[in-house]
Symmetry: C2
Subunit: 209 residues, 2 copies
DNA sequence: TCCATTTTTGAATTTTTATTCAATTTTTGA
DNA sequence: TCAAAAATTGAATAAAAATTCAAAAATGGA
């Protein structure tokens, strides 16, 4: 992954990753304001001051965490979009990708879900903006797929942006529910239901005009 | 509304409401942690200490605000549910009710949307729990409508709980988008789109099997 | 081994605000 | 009009935690 780096640099990055991983657990459990640098340091087995050699401060640590993980998913999703699939195929494979990623990294998404909606930061903070941009980019990519589907006559004539919102809404809702619940079931297993609601709707076929 | 109260009590309640209204604006603009009691007091034209005669503290002020507003919507929704309408009719009228309420009270919903997802409180805080319970109750009521729709053969055979989640997901997504955007368009105008996606799905009818 | 350089440390400092409370102002009822 | 009661005030207090930094420890090359 990291090529052409000397040992020093590699070790630095490893320690940095260790801190991020400790922070992930603490933030997931207590939220941004509920977590202290002391606790994160303790968990990462560093002195409090050391964290400041790796990150500018608490906010920087927090957003680095989010930014890197979101970047990772984004890259995966983009790769999926580049494959030669039908619009429905793309949406389906993106959905599975997301759900399994989230399922694998529950701690992180507890943070992400709970903060995507924090306006103060999303709007004012430089770091917050960066994260929000990635969400917007995802939404645009999705919109593009929708537009393609409409052009091919596979989807209804409807504002593709509205379609994209509808889709992420359904997904988020199931993710939220899964994260809130004590974690008994598989998130990925909800994919067919999500696809079904979004593509076919819930109205009974018997009644269809 | 307040019947049989003496002037003292009425005046007290008016002042309390004034404070809540000032708090609503401050919290909506800066979030819970970004807002100070000083600023709320100043905006409400009271001394800082006075707020503590009306509320136990900052958290109490915050949750009172949320709890009262959510209670108001909940009552309206319940009334709508008691009317004799078809399942689709109920869902549609609830949707319009919600959207117009949110549109009318944008400041408040900026707070609500951004905090429904704060786990620490929702789960640990006594006041937070109360608010969360109302959301759960709404979800259950919705589930009941879905179940009814299935029984009447109007909706597909599908877990009614999943249906309810799908629906609130789509709604939330449009609400979120509306709150984030600089407020050019009408939220209520999105209702038909929401109904359409949820009931009919986005797949083109031409292609339908 | 030695010492210069880098890294780590955690106690001390600083900042920020929620909350308190003694003093002041307003209201009340006689 | 007046004094007791109620309400308001905002400066002072207290608590919490982010950040800093001088000292200590670890590292690396000669």
């Amino acid at each position: 992954m990291e090529r052409g780096l000397n040992r020093k640099r590699r070790e630095y990055l490893t320690r940095r990753a260790d801190i991020l991983s400790a922070a992930e657990k603490v933030f997931a459990a207590k939220g941004f304001f509920g977590s202290t640098m002391d606790e994160i340091a303790k968990r990462a087995e560093f002195g409090t001051g050391s964290l400041y050699k790796y990150f500018r401060g608490k906010k920087d640590l927090y957003f680095s965490l989010i930014d890197e993980k979101v970047g990772e998913v984004t890259r995966l999703l983009r790769a999926e979009l580049d494959k030669d699939l039908s619009p429905i195929g793309k949406i389906e494979s993106m959905l599975y990708l997301q759900l399994s990623f989230i399922q694998r990294d529950r701690d992180f998404f507890k943070i992400y879900v709970s903060d995507r909606t924090r306006f103060e930061w999303t709007i004012k903070d430089e770091l917050g903006k960066r994260v929000h941009k990635k969400f917007i980019a995802y939404l645009s990519a999705l919109e593009e797929v929708m537009r393609d589907g409409i052009e091919r006559g596979q989807f209804k004539e409807m504002d593709p942006r509205d379609m994209a919102h509808g889709f992420v809404g359904i997904v988020n809702s199931f993710v939220f529910e899964w994260i809130m619940s004590p974690g008994a079931y598989s998130l990925v297993s909800k994919a067919p239901t999500i696809m079904n609601i979004f593509f076919e709707g819930v109205r009974s076929l018997k009644e269809r005009r």
